[in-house]
Symmetry: C2
Subunit: 431 residues, 2 copies
C-alpha cells in the first residue's frame, strides 16, 4: 500500500495539475479490477473513465467542481447509483433494475467532483457486523485475507485499506461504518442521526440508520465532511470521558491498550480525562435487537415469505425471529431507548466526547462464531450500537497496535460536540 495518496493529497495533486483525473481514475479502476479482497461488486470503469476525461478537460479550462474534483469514489452496494443496480449483497435483488437516480449523498459528492468507480461489497442487507454473509461470499481483510473485514460496509473498508480508493461511502445502523473501519485500520465516521440524508439508501432500521463514510486518515474525513455538510467552525474539546464499567471493556487487551495510548495523547494535548459510570448501558443496549429487528422485519417480510431461499440462511434466520413480535414490545423498546438515552446523557455530564474501543475483538477468522469462547458478533456490535440508539456522532480511528499485529480501532464519540469538532479531536489521536 506504499505510495498510495491520501484523500487530501489526491485533492491537492489534482488541483495542482500534478495528477490528472484520468490518470487517477484509471489507476483506481485497475486496482479495483485486480482486487483480491472480494471488495468489488460492480466495477463501472467505462463510465468512470468517461467522467474522468470530462473532469480532466474542465481542469484544463480552469474549472474545478469542488475539493473532490476527479477523485475516485467507492459506494457501498446499499446506495443507489444512477444506472447501476443496487443489490444489497443479496440474491433477493439479483435481478434489480438499474437505479434511476443517485442516492442523495452520492449526488452531493458528485457535485463536488467525485467519480463513482465501483459498487462495493456489503454484508447482506447490511444486517451484520462481520462482512462474511453475502451473495458474493465473504469480503477479506487486506491485513490478513483469512480474516473478516467487519461489516456491514465490508467492501468500503477493504477498498480504502487496500488503497484502491481514498474515499468510500458506508452506512451504519449499529456498527457498519466504524467496525469495518476498525478491523481494516482506516477511519470511519458515523455522523449524528439525521445529519446526512438516507434517501436512496436501502433501509435496515429507520430509527438507527446513519449514512457515513470511510477514508484512510482523519484529514480525509474532515475534507469529506466539509463537502457533505458545508464547512464551518469547530470547537476544541477540553474534557473527554473514559467509560469504566465492564460493559465497555474489550476482550482483546491490545484494544484496551490502544485506548490507553489515545488517552495519553489527549492528556499530553491538555485534555482533561474524566471517569464515567453508565449503570443503564446493559438495559439500553438490550433494546437494539428489538428495534432493528422489528423495523427490518417490516421491510423484508414479504420477500422472506415469497423467496426465502434467496436469502443467506443466517440473514433469513435473523429476520424471521422477529415475525411474531407484538407491537407493544417494539413501542416499549422505543420508550426505553428514549428514557435511557436521557439517563446516559445525564451520566456523561459535561464532557465533550468519549473515548473507547470500537470493538471488543480485532479481525476474526472468516466463519468463526467465537474466538477463545468470546462470541464474535456481539463483540463487533456492542461498543458501537449505543451511539446509534443515542444518535450521537462517532468516529473510529486506527489506534496504536501494541503487539504489531492486526489494526486496533479507537472510537471517539461526540457529546454535544458536532462532527467537525469531533474530527478535530480525532486528529489529535490519529493524524
Amino acid at each position: 500500500m506504499a505510495g498510495v495518496l491520501s484523500l487530501t493529497e489526491l485533492s491537492a495533486a489534482v488541483t495542482a495539475g500534478e495528477l490528472s483525473p484520468t490518470e487517477h481514475v484509471r489507476d483506481a479502476c485497475e486496482r479495483l479490477a485486480a482486487d483480491t479482497h472480494n471488495a468489488v461488486i460492480t466495477l463501472d470503469a467505462d463510465r468512470a473513465l468517461a467522467q474522468a476525461a470530462a473532469l480532466t478537460e474542465e481542469l484544463a479550462r480552469g474549472e474545478r467542481r469542488g475539493p473532490l474534483h476527479g477523485v475516485a469514489l467507492g459506494v457501498k452496494d446499499l446506495f443507489d447509483v444512477a444506472g447501476l443496480p443496487t443489490r444489497c449483497g443479496s440474491d433477493v435483488l439479483a435481478d434489480a433494475p438499474p437505479a434511476v437516480a443517485d442516492a442523495a449523498v452520492v449526488a452531493r459528492l458528485r457535485a463536488a467532483g467525485a467519480v463513482v468507480v465501483a459498487k462495493l461489497h456489503t454484508h447482506e442487507f447490511a444486517y451484520g457486523p462481520t462482512g462474511d454473509v453475502a451473495a458474493a461470499g465473504p469480503a477479506r481483510n487486506p491485513h490478513d485475507p483469512s480474516r473478516i473485514t467487519g461489516g456491514s460496509s465490508s467492501g468500503s473498508a477493504a477498498a480504502v485499506a487496500a488503497g484502491h480508493v481514498a474515499l468510500a461511502l458506508g452506512s451504519d445502523t449499529g456498527a457498519s461504518v466504524r467496525t469495518p473501519a476498525a478491523l481494516c485500520g482506516v477511519v470511519g465516521l458515523k455522523p449524528s442521526y439525521g445529519a446526512l440524508p438516507v434517501d436512496g439508501v436501502f433501509p435496515l432500521s429507520q430509527t438507527c440508520d446513519h449514512v457515513g463514510f470511510l477514508t484512510a486518515d482523519v484529514a480525509g474525513a474532515a475534507l469529506t465532511w466539509d463537502v457533505l455538510a458545508g464547512s464551518g467552525e469547530f470547537r476544541v474539546a477540553t474534557r473527554v470521558g473514559v467509560l469504566v464499567d465492564d460493559f465497555w471493556r474489550a476482550a482483546d487487551p491490545v484494544l484496551d491498550a490502544a485506548v490507553v495510548a489515545a488517552v495519553e495523547e489527549l492528556r499530553a494535548g491538555g485534555v482533561e480525562i474524566v471517569e464515567i459510570r453508565t449503570p443503564m448501558i446493559e438495559e439500553l443496549a438490550a433494546v437494539y435487537p428489538t428495534i432493528v429487528g422489528a423495523e427490518a422485519w417490516a421491510t423484508h417480510r414479504h420477500w422472506v415469505a415469497e423467496r426465502p431461499g434467496a436469502y443467506q440462511p443466517a440473514t433469513r434466520e435473523r429476520l424471521a425471529v422477529n415475525a411474531d413480535m407484538p407491537a407493544h414490545v417494539y413501542v416499549d423498546a422505543l420508550r426505553t431507548r428514549a428514557r435511557l438515552t436521557a439517563e446516559l446523557r445525564a451520566a456523561v455530564g459535561d464532557v465533550d466526547a468519549l473515548v473507547l474501543p470500537t470493538t471488543r475483538l480485532r479481525a476474526t477468522p472468516i466463519g468463526a462464531d467465537d474466538v477463545d469462547g468470546v462470541p464474535v458478533r456481539p463483540s463487533l456490535l456492542g461498543l458501537t450500537l449505543p451511539f446509534n440508539l443515542t444518535g450521537w456522532p462517532a468516529v473510529s480511528v486506527p489506534g496504536a497496535v501494541s503487539d504489531g499485529g492486526l489494526p486496533a480501532g479507537v472510537q471517539l464519540v461526540g457529546v454535544g460536540l458536532d462532527e467537525r469538532s469531533l474530527l478535530h479531536l480525532a486528529g489529535s489521536v490519529s493524524p
Copy 2:
C-alpha cells in the same frame, strides 16, 4: 357569562391593582364550586387562596412574577399538579397518590404567577374526542347541558366557556384541545410537536401527544404562548390555503359557512387564498388509529389485564382491539405517516397556513353515536388528527354562527408558520 374578564383584561386589571389576586381567585373558586357542567374533578380552593394571598402581598410590595401574576389556572386532570392526584378521568387511578411535582408546563405557568385552582374533567385517559366517557360521568356543554363538550380536554373547555377560568391547560393527541374548544366556543391551541414539554402529562401516544391550552380569546392565547415559549417576533401570513377535497368538508353546513366567513375576513385583510388538493389524506388519516392504538396499548395492557373492570367499557374496548397488533403493522404505519406527511407538505406548497373547519359536527347530544346517520366520533377527530400526524401547529377559534345556534370552530393550521405568527393570523379571523 357577561362581565367575565378575558385573560388579557385580567392580567391588566391585576397589574393595575384594580383586581387583587385574592378577589379574583376567590371568585374563580366560587364559580368552580357552583359549576353545573361536571367540569371540575378536584377544587383546590384552600391552597389556591393561600397562594393568591401571597401573590396579593407581593403586588403590594411592587413585586410581579409575570404576566399571569394572580391569574386562576385550570388544569386538565391528565397533568400532574404537586400535592394533587392525577386520575386521568379513570377509576383505574382512583387511588392515585398525590403527584410529587408539577408537570413542566404547570411549573412554567406558575413561575409567571398563575394559581392552580382546580383539576378539570377529561375523557378517560384522553382516549376520545367526546368528553362523555369518564369515571365522573359526562362533561356538559355550557351552551346546552344536554350536549357534549367535546374532548378529551372536556373540563378545560367547559370551564373557560362558562367563564370560571380564563385559562386552562389541555392536551391534544388527535383533537383533544381543538375539538372541545370548537364545541364550547373558545380558543384552543395545539402547538407544533415537541414545542411544549410533555413531562408530567399522562401519555396517550408518544408520537402524537401535544400539550396545549384553551382561552376565551386569541389575545389570551397569544399572551399564554409568550409565557410558555418566550416572546418573540411574528411573521405576517400572506397566503392561506383552503382544502377542497371532500375529506375536509363538514357534515353540518354551518361549519362550512363559518370557514367561508373566515376566508372572507382573510381576503378582506389582503391575504391571498389558494385552493389545495390533498389526494393522500385518506391514506394518511388511516394510520392514526394504528399508531395511537399501539402506543396506548403498550401503556395500558398491564392494567387492562389486572383491572379490566376499572375502565369504562368503551375505553377498554378501544384499547383491547390493539392487543394482537404485530410490530410490523405499527412500523409500517410510522413509515406511511412519514412518507405521506412529506407528500402533504409538498401538496400544500408555499402557503403560510390552512383554514378549515375544526370538526364536521357541532356539539352532539350526550350519548349519541351518530346524528342523522353521521357518526359522531370520526366527525370530531377527522379534521384535527392529520395535524397531530404532521406535527404542525393548529388553533381552533370561534367562527361565525350563521344559524345563531351552537358554536362553530374554525381551524387554522401553520405551514412553516410558528405558533406566534399563527395566532396573529387567527386574530384577524376571531379577535
